[in-house]
């Protein structure tokens, strides 16, 4: 594995690989790798000739009240993990390298951002889309890998790739779950033992919603009430949101139809967890799959 810190060197290397007709799988991250990232890397390794991992804590996507300077970093650990996963190139530029002078252009995301977690993070997805535009142009991936756990980020990236016509296939990778269904997250260790047991109800409520849709329910309000009721009966955690939208457009629906997302965020004593399921809903009863 080669660690590359300059844009120029990364672009030269990719040019060489492309001239050899190699496919390039790309996993962009902010480092401090966890099991979710490793799942993306394993999939990228299976599906491409070359795997590029980027580690860049992107200041543009942090709000003024957010923790850019204290965001966790552990490059040596990340490097070892990347090596174990068979990464070919670890792109690790400095902030200075990526934004060496004031930038004359930026990407503005004008849809899909004012819902779910984005509602409380104005400008966050502009920063994400801007850095991804740069990274896509530097790495020229054939396929780019993102975890569907952050379904809103995947929706924004889908819009970025489609609407700017990047010749990139977006691979949204399924949520990895514990045996009881809880979505894996490095934050789960911050749950108290009792909360850990209760937290499984989040996914169970999403599965119950899916069953209701399969049974013919098409009213988003009913689905939201069902999920909220199940979560609050299971424990004393505080619901941040339970939402139902079209996917990836993230638009309100009068009636479930087509690809839909049911997403929940729940606050525990020391940690906030998110989860979601995405379903194809047909107009016929029993049409969810």
């Amino acid at each position: 594995m080669r660690v590359i810190t300059t844009i120029h060197e990364m672009q030269n290397e990719i040019k060489t690989q492309k001239s050899l007709s190699k496919s390039v799988g790309f996993v962009p991250t902010m480092g401090f790798l966890h099991e979710g990232h490793l799942t993306l890397l394993k999939k990228a390794r299976l599906e491409n000739d070359i795997v590029v991992l980027s580690i860049f804590v992107n200041p543009l996507q942090f709000g003024p009240a957010e923790d850019f300077s204290t965001y966790p970093r552990d490059f040596n650990r990340d490097k070892s993990l990347a090596e174990c996963e068979g990464v070919d190139f670890l792109f690790y530029p400095s902030v200075e390298e990526m934004y060496h002078h004031s930038s004359s252009v930026r990407v503005v995301v004008q849809e899909r951002t004012d819902v779910l977690c984005g509602k409380s993070r104005p400008g966050h997805f502009d920063g994400v889309a801007t850095v991804l535009t740069k990274l896509f142009n530097i790495v020229l991936p054939t396929k780019a890998y993102f975890g569907i756990k952050d379904a809103q980020q995947v929706a924004v990236v889908e819009g970025l790739i489609t609407d700017f016509n990047f010749p990139i296939e977006l691979i949204a990778v399924d949520i990895v779950r514990e045996e009881d269904g809880l979505a894996k997250s490095s934050r789960n260790v911050n749950l108290l033992p009792e909360e850990r047991r209760q937290a499984a109800v989040i996914y169970k409520s999403l599965i119950a919603a899916k069953a209701a849709i399969e049974g013919g329910e098409r009213d988003p309000q009913v689905i939201k009430s069902l999920v909220s009721a199940m979560i609050t009966s299971g424990f004393k955690g505080q619901i941040d949101y339970v939402e139902v939208y079209s996917y990836p457009q993230l638009k309100d629906l009068a009636k479930l139809d087509g690809t839909c997302i049911i997403a929940a965020a729940v606050k525990f004593s020391k940690v906030r967890l998110i989860d979601n399921i995405i379903l194809e809903v047909s107009q016929e009863i029993g049409g969810a799959k």
Copy 2:
């Protein structure tokens, strides 16, 4: 020459060409080709294996009071000219094809726009940068060609390519001039005969400014006064602006230093003409080249 109207087909064709390691020269236009465009095509033809011309009247770059619907179009004539210049692919998408649904992302140009012609066209360069981001991703050019006559557009494109790390070489092509120095333009035919004779003074004033700089003058105000005085003494046309900036940053300068642009816009009875020269100014006297 093949005319291609869909993004999908254009991307597939480029993929094939790239797999054969062909270099791609790209000339993006809004059609109604004139001699300036043909100069770009000739240069692209000389320097690349494959030449792509795009013709797309981009609604995003027209303001509400501007003439999108009446912008001149003559596809059959353009097609013949493109064929004569040895274009390989003429990319000619519809507005529907380029903006098939409301776009979730756009590019905002946050520098270089509030001066020169951009001052009176808010949002114009956002539209230019957005459509070029799409076109660059569709055509994946090795080199992209723009006329330096629209020096502000070239400055914006330079920022777009540099700051978003597009792996594209920007080729700014020199202004083609009439024998008396007047910059060639399809608008020159709208000059009255007397105005046509007078119009040569615009370039003569820029050359005089260059001579003054070579003689040691470094004060932008003095240069602007010199150009304005020469233009207004030569005829009764109305100066729209005479400006001196750093290039391509288009920032005000306390003192000429480094790459600088001297740009002028002049209104005649039926037409407004622009012209510019770009110079390398060193701190030593006689350092302009």
